[in-house]
Protein backbone atom coordinates (compact mmCIF):
# COMPACT_ATOMS: atom_id res chain seq x y z
CA UNK A 1 0.00 0.00 0.00
CA UNK A 2 2.99 2.31 0.63
CA UNK A 3 3.92 2.80 -3.06
CA UNK A 4 0.28 3.78 -3.76
CA UNK A 5 0.43 6.36 -0.94
CA UNK A 6 3.59 7.86 -2.37
CA UNK A 7 2.07 8.00 -5.85
CA UNK A 8 -0.94 9.88 -4.46
CA UNK A 9 1.30 12.35 -2.63
CA UNK A 10 3.33 12.97 -5.78
CA UNK A 11 0.09 13.39 -7.76
CA UNK A 12 -1.25 16.00 -5.29
CA UNK A 13 2.08 17.89 -5.34
CA UNK A 14 2.24 17.89 -9.14
CA UNK A 15 -1.36 19.17 -9.48
CA UNK A 16 -0.73 22.04 -7.05
CA UNK A 17 2.60 22.82 -8.76
CA UNK A 18 0.97 22.96 -12.18
CA UNK A 19 -1.76 25.27 -10.95
CA UNK A 20 0.76 27.64 -9.37
CA UNK A 21 2.88 27.61 -12.55
CA UNK A 22 -0.20 28.40 -14.62
CA UNK A 23 -0.82 31.48 -12.49
CA UNK A 24 2.73 32.70 -13.08
CA UNK A 25 2.28 32.12 -16.82
CA UNK A 26 -0.87 34.26 -16.81
CA UNK A 27 0.95 37.06 -14.98
CA UNK A 28 3.79 37.01 -17.51
CA UNK A 29 1.37 37.11 -20.44
CA UNK A 30 -0.33 40.18 -18.99
CA UNK A 31 2.97 42.02 -18.59
CA UNK A 32 3.95 41.46 -22.22
CA UNK A 33 0.72 42.29 -24.03
CA UNK A 34 -0.73 44.95 -21.67
CA UNK A 35 -4.31 44.11 -22.59
CA UNK A 36 -7.16 46.14 -21.09
CA UNK A 37 -7.67 45.06 -17.50
CA UNK A 38 -10.31 42.38 -17.09
CA UNK A 39 -12.82 43.08 -14.32
CA UNK A 40 -12.92 40.20 -11.85
CA UNK A 41 -16.38 38.75 -11.25
CA UNK A 42 -17.88 39.38 -7.84
CA UNK A 43 -17.26 36.58 -5.34
CA UNK A 44 -19.30 33.43 -5.93
CA UNK A 45 -19.99 33.06 -2.20
CA UNK A 46 -20.30 35.65 0.55
CA UNK A 47 -17.83 33.95 2.86
CA UNK A 48 -14.79 31.71 2.52
CA UNK A 49 -16.64 29.25 4.75
CA UNK A 50 -19.72 27.28 3.71
CA UNK A 51 -20.93 25.11 6.64
CA UNK A 52 -17.68 23.28 7.44
CA UNK A 53 -16.17 23.43 3.99
CA UNK A 54 -14.31 26.11 2.08
CA UNK A 55 -15.38 28.21 -0.89
CA UNK A 56 -13.20 29.96 -3.45
CA UNK A 57 -13.96 33.31 -1.77
CA UNK A 58 -10.97 35.05 -0.20
CA UNK A 59 -11.06 38.25 1.80
CA UNK A 60 -8.89 41.21 0.70
CA UNK A 61 -5.28 41.37 1.93
CA UNK A 62 -4.72 42.35 5.57
CA UNK A 63 -8.15 41.09 6.63
CA UNK A 64 -8.45 39.11 9.85
CA UNK A 65 -11.40 36.73 10.06
CA UNK A 66 -12.63 35.12 13.26
CA UNK A 67 -14.65 31.94 12.77
CA UNK A 68 -16.90 30.17 15.27
CA UNK A 69 -18.43 26.89 14.10
CA UNK A 70 -20.86 25.00 16.31
CA UNK A 71 -22.65 21.69 15.85
CA UNK A 72 -25.14 20.29 18.33
CA UNK A 73 -25.91 16.57 18.69
CA UNK A 74 -28.23 14.52 16.50
CA UNK A 75 -31.94 15.38 16.53
CA UNK A 76 -32.81 11.66 16.63
CA UNK A 77 -33.54 11.49 20.36
CA UNK A 78 -36.22 14.12 19.99
CA UNK A 79 -37.43 16.05 23.00
CA UNK A 80 -35.35 13.88 25.40
CA UNK A 81 -32.29 16.00 24.66
CA UNK A 82 -34.15 18.88 23.01
CA UNK A 83 -33.39 17.70 19.49
CA UNK A 84 -29.67 17.54 20.09
CA UNK A 85 -29.27 20.93 21.80
CA UNK A 86 -28.58 19.23 25.18
CA UNK A 87 -26.45 16.51 23.58
CA UNK A 88 -22.64 16.72 23.41
CA UNK A 89 -21.73 19.34 20.82
CA UNK A 90 -18.68 20.01 18.72
CA UNK A 91 -17.20 23.49 18.36
CA UNK A 92 -14.30 25.06 16.49
CA UNK A 93 -12.77 28.48 16.91
CA UNK A 94 -10.46 29.74 14.22
CA UNK A 95 -8.60 32.76 12.92
CA UNK A 96 -7.82 33.36 9.25
CA UNK A 97 -5.60 36.10 7.89
CA UNK A 98 -5.30 37.20 4.27
CA UNK A 99 -1.63 37.85 3.61
CA UNK A 100 -2.34 38.72 -0.02
CA UNK A 101 -5.55 39.21 -1.96
CA UNK A 102 -5.15 35.62 -3.15
CA UNK A 103 -3.50 33.94 -0.16
CA UNK A 104 -5.02 33.15 3.23
CA UNK A 105 -3.57 31.28 6.20
CA UNK A 106 -5.53 30.11 9.21
CA UNK A 107 -5.36 28.28 12.50
CA UNK A 108 -8.09 26.68 14.56
CA UNK A 109 -8.93 24.43 17.50
CA UNK A 110 -11.79 21.94 17.59
CA UNK A 111 -13.32 20.27 20.64
CA UNK A 112 -13.66 16.68 19.31
CA UNK A 113 -10.34 14.80 19.35
CA UNK A 114 -8.73 18.03 20.68
CA UNK A 115 -7.96 18.74 17.04
CA UNK A 116 -5.76 21.71 16.05
CA UNK A 117 -5.55 22.74 12.44
CA UNK A 118 -3.47 24.88 10.13
CA UNK A 119 -5.11 26.02 6.90
CA UNK A 120 -3.98 27.58 3.67
CA UNK A 121 -6.05 28.77 0.73
CA UNK A 122 -4.56 30.11 -2.47
CA UNK A 123 -6.57 31.59 -5.30
CA UNK A 124 -5.11 30.42 -8.59
CA UNK A 125 -7.58 31.79 -11.11
CA UNK A 126 -10.30 34.44 -10.85
CA UNK A 127 -13.53 34.38 -12.87
CA UNK A 128 -13.92 37.53 -14.97
CA UNK A 129 -17.07 39.47 -15.83
CA UNK A 130 -16.40 39.11 -19.53
CA UNK A 131 -16.36 35.31 -19.03
CA UNK A 132 -12.92 35.12 -20.59
CA UNK A 133 -12.10 33.15 -17.46
CA UNK A 134 -15.36 31.32 -16.67
CA UNK A 135 -14.49 29.94 -13.22
CA UNK A 136 -12.59 30.75 -10.05
CA UNK A 137 -10.10 28.13 -8.89
CA UNK A 138 -8.51 27.91 -5.46
CA UNK A 139 -6.33 25.35 -3.73
CA UNK A 140 -7.17 24.56 -0.11
CA UNK A 141 -5.05 22.64 2.38
CA UNK A 142 -5.88 21.69 5.98
CA UNK A 143 -3.32 20.02 8.24
CA UNK A 144 -4.89 18.52 11.37
CA UNK A 145 -3.03 17.77 14.59
CA UNK A 146 -4.92 15.38 16.89
CA UNK A 147 -4.32 16.41 20.52
CA UNK A 148 -5.66 13.20 22.10
CA UNK A 149 -3.62 11.21 24.68
CA UNK A 150 -0.61 9.29 23.30
CA UNK A 151 -2.31 5.98 24.14
CA UNK A 152 -4.90 6.56 21.39
CA UNK A 153 -2.20 5.99 18.78
CA UNK A 154 -1.10 2.53 19.96
CA UNK A 155 2.19 1.13 21.23
CA UNK A 156 4.53 2.62 18.64
CA UNK A 157 3.54 6.22 19.23
CA UNK A 158 5.21 8.93 17.18
CA UNK A 159 4.15 12.58 16.91
CA UNK A 160 3.51 12.15 13.19
CA UNK A 161 0.67 9.71 14.06
CA UNK A 162 -1.33 12.79 15.05
CA UNK A 163 -1.19 14.41 11.63
CA UNK A 164 -3.86 14.35 8.94
CA UNK A 165 -3.99 16.15 5.61
CA UNK A 166 -6.82 17.43 3.44
CA UNK A 167 -6.02 18.79 -0.03
CA UNK A 168 -8.79 20.20 -2.19
CA UNK A 169 -9.14 22.01 -5.50
CA UNK A 170 -12.12 24.37 -5.38
CA UNK A 171 -13.75 25.33 -8.69
CA UNK A 172 -16.64 27.77 -8.52
CA UNK A 173 -18.72 29.79 -10.92
CA UNK A 174 -20.96 32.74 -10.20
CA UNK A 175 -23.67 32.23 -12.83
CA UNK A 176 -25.54 35.43 -11.98
CA UNK A 177 -26.34 37.62 -8.97
CA UNK A 178 -28.44 34.84 -7.44
CA UNK A 179 -26.89 31.50 -8.34
CA UNK A 180 -23.37 30.21 -7.68
CA UNK A 181 -22.14 26.62 -7.79
CA UNK A 182 -18.92 24.93 -6.76
CA UNK A 183 -17.35 21.54 -7.36
CA UNK A 184 -14.32 20.47 -5.36
CA UNK A 185 -12.39 17.21 -5.65
CA UNK A 186 -10.26 16.40 -2.61
CA UNK A 187 -7.79 13.92 -1.17
CA UNK A 188 -7.67 13.08 2.53
CA UNK A 189 -4.83 11.28 4.28
CA UNK A 190 -4.48 10.31 7.95
CA UNK A 191 -1.11 9.08 9.19
CA UNK A 192 -2.89 6.98 11.79
CA UNK A 193 -6.50 5.80 11.79
CA UNK A 194 -8.82 3.59 13.82
CA UNK A 195 -8.77 -0.09 12.90
CA UNK A 196 -10.67 -0.93 9.69
CA UNK A 197 -10.56 2.73 8.57
CA UNK A 198 -8.64 3.55 5.39
CA UNK A 199 -5.76 6.02 5.60
CA UNK A 200 -6.56 7.61 2.23
CA UNK A 201 -9.75 8.69 0.55
CA UNK A 202 -10.70 10.74 -2.47
CA UNK A 203 -13.93 12.70 -2.28
CA UNK A 204 -15.93 15.14 -4.30
CA UNK A 205 -17.78 18.07 -2.76
CA UNK A 206 -20.59 20.04 -4.35
CA UNK A 207 -21.94 23.35 -3.08
CA UNK A 208 -24.51 25.88 -4.19
CA UNK A 209 -26.06 29.18 -3.26
CA UNK A 210 -29.33 30.78 -4.19
CA UNK A 211 -29.44 34.42 -3.08
CA UNK A 212 -33.05 35.40 -2.53
CA UNK A 213 -32.56 38.81 -0.91
CA UNK A 214 -29.68 41.31 -0.75
CA UNK A 215 -28.38 39.74 2.45
CA UNK A 216 -29.88 36.24 2.60
CA UNK A 217 -29.20 33.05 0.68
CA UNK A 218 -30.25 29.44 0.67
CA UNK A 219 -27.07 27.36 0.81
CA UNK A 220 -26.50 23.66 0.27
CA UNK A 221 -23.49 21.36 0.14
CA UNK A 222 -22.59 17.69 -0.05
CA UNK A 223 -19.26 15.96 0.58
CA UNK A 224 -19.22 12.57 -1.12
CA UNK A 225 -16.40 10.19 -0.08
CA UNK A 226 -15.47 7.88 -2.97
CA UNK A 227 -14.97 4.17 -2.38
CA UNK A 228 -12.07 3.32 -4.70
CA UNK A 229 -11.08 -0.30 -4.17
CA UNK A 230 -7.63 0.33 -5.66
CA UNK A 231 -6.58 2.49 -2.71
CA UNK A 232 -8.76 0.84 -0.05
CA UNK A 233 -6.97 -1.28 2.54
CA UNK A 234 -10.09 -3.23 3.49
CA UNK A 235 -12.64 -5.40 1.73
CA UNK A 236 -15.95 -3.73 1.00
CA UNK A 237 -18.10 -6.70 2.15
CA UNK A 238 -17.74 -6.03 5.87
CA UNK A 239 -20.86 -6.74 7.90
CA UNK A 240 -20.58 -4.43 10.88
CA UNK A 241 -22.31 -1.07 10.26
CA UNK A 242 -19.43 0.80 11.96
CA UNK A 243 -16.90 -0.75 9.60
CA UNK A 244 -18.70 0.33 6.45
CA UNK A 245 -17.13 3.14 4.42
CA UNK A 246 -17.99 6.74 5.38
CA UNK A 247 -21.11 8.30 3.92
CA UNK A 248 -21.96 11.69 2.43
CA UNK A 249 -22.07 14.76 4.65
CA UNK A 250 -25.10 16.76 3.48
CA UNK A 251 -25.85 20.28 4.72
CA UNK A 252 -28.66 22.68 3.92
CA UNK A 253 -29.26 26.04 5.54
CA UNK A 254 -29.64 29.77 5.50
CA UNK A 255 -26.85 32.34 5.15
CA UNK A 256 -27.18 35.96 6.24
CA UNK A 257 -24.23 38.15 5.27
CA UNK A 258 -23.58 41.71 6.39
CA UNK A 259 -20.62 43.96 5.74
CA UNK A 260 -18.50 42.28 8.39
CA UNK A 261 -20.35 39.11 9.38
CA UNK A 262 -21.68 35.91 7.85
CA UNK A 263 -24.13 33.74 9.78
CA UNK A 264 -25.11 30.19 8.87
CA UNK A 265 -28.00 28.32 10.48
CA UNK A 266 -28.26 24.86 9.01
CA UNK A 267 -29.06 21.17 9.21
CA UNK A 268 -26.16 18.84 8.51
CA UNK A 269 -25.25 15.21 9.01
CA UNK A 270 -21.60 14.98 10.09
CA UNK A 271 -20.66 16.09 13.58
CA UNK A 272 -17.02 16.58 12.66
CA UNK A 273 -15.98 20.09 11.70
CA UNK A 274 -12.64 20.02 9.93
CA UNK A 275 -13.10 18.50 6.45
CA UNK A 276 -10.84 15.43 6.80
CA UNK A 277 -12.93 14.25 9.78
CA UNK A 278 -16.11 14.47 7.72
CA UNK A 279 -14.61 12.70 4.71
CA UNK A 280 -13.06 9.79 6.62
CA UNK A 281 -15.30 9.25 9.62
CA UNK A 282 -18.87 10.39 8.95
CA UNK A 283 -21.40 7.56 9.38
CA UNK A 284 -24.47 9.79 9.86
CA UNK A 285 -26.97 9.50 7.03
CA UNK A 286 -28.88 12.73 6.43
CA UNK A 287 -31.82 11.02 4.73
CA UNK A 288 -32.10 8.42 7.54
CA UNK A 289 -32.69 11.20 10.07
CA UNK A 290 -29.12 11.50 11.49
CA UNK A 291 -29.43 15.28 11.36
CA UNK A 292 -27.56 17.87 13.41
CA UNK A 293 -28.34 21.55 13.93
CA UNK A 294 -25.32 23.74 13.15
CA UNK A 295 -24.40 27.41 13.53
CA UNK A 296 -21.50 29.39 12.09
CA UNK A 297 -20.46 32.98 12.66
CA UNK A 298 -17.62 34.82 10.94
CA UNK A 299 -16.38 38.32 11.75
CA UNK A 300 -14.02 40.38 9.60
CA UNK A 301 -11.58 43.15 10.53
CA UNK A 302 -9.68 45.11 7.89
CA UNK A 303 -6.27 46.58 8.60
Amino acid sequence: MKPMKNILRIFATVVIGLLLAQNVAFAQEEEVTEKPKERPARAAFESGLLFDGATTTLQPSKTLEMVIQHRFGSVENGITDLYGIWAPSNIRMGLNYSILDNLMVGIGATKFNKMQDIQLKYNVLQQTRSNKIPVTISVYEVIGIDGSADSKFGNNYKFTNRLSYFTQILISRRFNDKISLQVAPSFTHYNSTDSLVDHDRFAISLAGRYKFSPQSSLIISGDFPLQIQGISEYRKDVNDEQDLPPVANICIGLEVATSTHAFHVYLGSSQGIIPQENILYNKNKFFKGNIILGLNITRLWNF
Binding site: R39, P40, R42, P60, S61, D177, P214, N302
Partner: protein, 138 residues
Protein backbone atom coordinates in the same frame (compact mmCIF):
# COMPACT_ATOMS: atom_id res chain seq x y z
CA UNK B 1 -22.48 60.47 57.91
CA UNK B 2 -25.24 58.37 56.36
CA UNK B 3 -26.88 61.47 54.89
CA UNK B 4 -23.57 62.65 53.42
CA UNK B 5 -23.14 59.26 51.71
CA UNK B 6 -26.67 59.41 50.34
CA UNK B 7 -26.07 62.93 49.04
CA UNK B 8 -22.78 61.88 47.45
CA UNK B 9 -24.47 58.88 45.77
CA UNK B 10 -27.23 61.08 44.36
CA UNK B 11 -24.73 63.65 43.04
CA UNK B 12 -22.60 60.91 41.43
CA UNK B 13 -25.64 59.24 39.85
CA UNK B 14 -26.84 62.60 38.49
CA UNK B 15 -23.36 63.35 37.10
CA UNK B 16 -23.19 59.93 35.44
CA UNK B 17 -26.65 60.42 33.93
CA UNK B 18 -25.78 63.87 32.51
CA UNK B 19 -22.38 62.69 31.20
CA UNK B 20 -23.96 59.64 29.54
CA UNK B 21 -26.64 61.73 27.88
CA UNK B 22 -24.17 64.31 26.67
CA UNK B 23 -22.00 61.52 25.26
CA UNK B 24 -24.97 59.97 23.47
CA UNK B 25 -26.08 63.21 21.81
CA UNK B 26 -25.04 63.05 18.18
CA UNK B 27 -22.79 65.82 16.92
CA UNK B 28 -23.60 67.59 13.70
CA UNK B 29 -21.16 66.63 10.96
CA UNK B 30 -18.05 68.73 10.43
CA UNK B 31 -17.71 69.81 6.77
CA UNK B 32 -15.88 67.22 4.65
CA UNK B 33 -12.50 68.17 3.22
CA UNK B 34 -12.50 66.47 -0.17
CA UNK B 35 -9.32 66.41 -2.29
CA UNK B 36 -9.65 68.05 -5.72
CA UNK B 37 -8.91 64.81 -7.57
CA UNK B 38 -12.00 63.22 -6.05
CA UNK B 39 -14.17 66.29 -6.70
CA UNK B 40 -13.30 66.04 -10.38
CA UNK B 41 -13.86 62.28 -10.61
CA UNK B 42 -16.11 61.00 -13.35
CA UNK B 43 -18.20 57.88 -13.08
CA UNK B 44 -17.15 54.83 -15.08
CA UNK B 45 -20.79 53.85 -15.58
CA UNK B 46 -23.67 55.86 -16.99
CA UNK B 47 -26.88 56.84 -15.22
CA UNK B 48 -29.46 54.14 -15.92
CA UNK B 49 -26.85 51.36 -16.06
CA UNK B 50 -28.57 48.04 -15.17
CA UNK B 51 -25.97 47.38 -12.46
CA UNK B 52 -27.36 50.25 -10.34
CA UNK B 53 -30.48 48.36 -9.32
CA UNK B 54 -28.72 45.00 -9.00
CA UNK B 55 -25.11 45.42 -7.84
CA UNK B 56 -25.61 48.93 -6.43
CA UNK B 57 -28.71 47.93 -4.49
CA UNK B 58 -27.15 44.71 -3.21
CA UNK B 59 -23.93 46.36 -2.04
CA UNK B 60 -25.82 49.27 -0.46
CA UNK B 61 -28.00 46.83 1.47
CA UNK B 62 -25.02 44.75 2.57
CA UNK B 63 -22.63 47.51 3.60
CA UNK B 64 -24.59 50.74 4.14
CA UNK B 65 -28.17 49.99 5.19
CA UNK B 66 -27.45 49.09 8.83
CA UNK B 67 -26.46 52.73 9.54
CA UNK B 68 -27.96 54.77 6.71
CA UNK B 69 -31.34 53.00 6.51
CA UNK B 70 -33.13 51.36 3.60
CA UNK B 71 -34.05 54.70 2.02
CA UNK B 72 -30.92 56.57 3.08
CA UNK B 73 -32.73 58.64 5.70
CA UNK B 74 -30.08 57.92 8.34
CA UNK B 75 -32.44 55.74 10.35
CA UNK B 76 -30.66 52.35 10.21
CA UNK B 77 -30.58 50.26 13.40
CA UNK B 78 -26.95 51.16 14.18
CA UNK B 79 -27.37 54.93 13.55
CA UNK B 80 -28.45 55.77 17.09
CA UNK B 81 -25.23 54.39 18.56
CA UNK B 82 -23.00 56.65 16.47
CA UNK B 83 -21.52 59.91 17.74
CA UNK B 84 -22.13 61.70 14.47
CA UNK B 85 -25.23 61.97 12.33
CA UNK B 86 -25.30 59.71 9.28
CA UNK B 87 -27.03 62.39 7.19
CA UNK B 88 -29.98 62.13 4.84
CA UNK B 89 -29.29 60.92 1.28
CA UNK B 90 -32.70 62.11 0.09
CA UNK B 91 -31.93 65.73 1.07
CA UNK B 92 -31.10 68.51 -1.39
CA UNK B 93 -27.80 69.20 0.40
CA UNK B 94 -26.61 65.64 -0.20
CA UNK B 95 -27.90 65.34 -3.75
CA UNK B 96 -26.40 68.72 -4.79
CA UNK B 97 -22.88 67.35 -4.27
CA UNK B 98 -20.73 66.26 -7.20
CA UNK B 99 -20.54 62.51 -7.92
CA UNK B 100 -16.89 62.50 -6.85
CA UNK B 101 -17.73 64.09 -3.50
CA UNK B 102 -20.26 61.35 -2.75
CA UNK B 103 -17.70 58.77 -3.92
CA UNK B 104 -15.05 60.09 -1.51
CA UNK B 105 -17.40 60.21 1.46
CA UNK B 106 -18.74 56.73 0.72
CA UNK B 107 -15.58 54.78 0.03
CA UNK B 108 -12.63 56.69 1.52
CA UNK B 109 -14.56 57.78 4.61
CA UNK B 110 -13.32 59.31 7.87
CA UNK B 111 -13.78 58.74 11.62
CA UNK B 112 -16.92 56.66 12.17
CA UNK B 113 -17.53 56.28 8.44
CA UNK B 114 -15.29 53.30 7.57
CA UNK B 115 -13.21 52.92 4.46
CA UNK B 116 -14.88 50.60 1.95
CA UNK B 117 -12.23 50.58 -0.77
CA UNK B 118 -11.25 46.99 0.06
CA UNK B 119 -14.72 45.62 0.63
CA UNK B 120 -16.00 47.10 -2.63
CA UNK B 121 -12.90 46.73 -4.76
CA UNK B 122 -14.33 47.22 -8.24
CA UNK B 123 -14.57 50.81 -9.48
CA UNK B 124 -17.76 50.16 -11.49
CA UNK B 125 -19.44 48.59 -8.45
CA UNK B 126 -18.63 51.70 -6.36
CA UNK B 127 -20.26 53.96 -8.94
CA UNK B 128 -23.31 51.67 -9.01
CA UNK B 129 -23.66 52.35 -5.25
CA UNK B 130 -23.25 56.12 -5.81
CA UNK B 131 -26.01 56.12 -8.45
CA UNK B 132 -28.20 53.93 -6.23
CA UNK B 133 -27.90 56.66 -3.56
CA UNK B 134 -28.68 59.29 -6.21
CA UNK B 135 -32.01 57.50 -6.76
CA UNK B 136 -32.95 58.21 -3.14
CA UNK B 137 -33.62 61.85 -3.99
CA UNK B 138 -36.97 63.12 -2.68
Amino acid sequence: MKNSLKLLSIVLAALAFVTLNLAMTQKANEPWVIPAKYKAMKSTIKAGDPSINTVGKELYNQHCRSCHGTKGLGDGPKAKNLKTSTGDFSSKAFQDQADGEIYYQSFVGRDEMPNFEKKIADEGDRWAVVYYMRAMKK
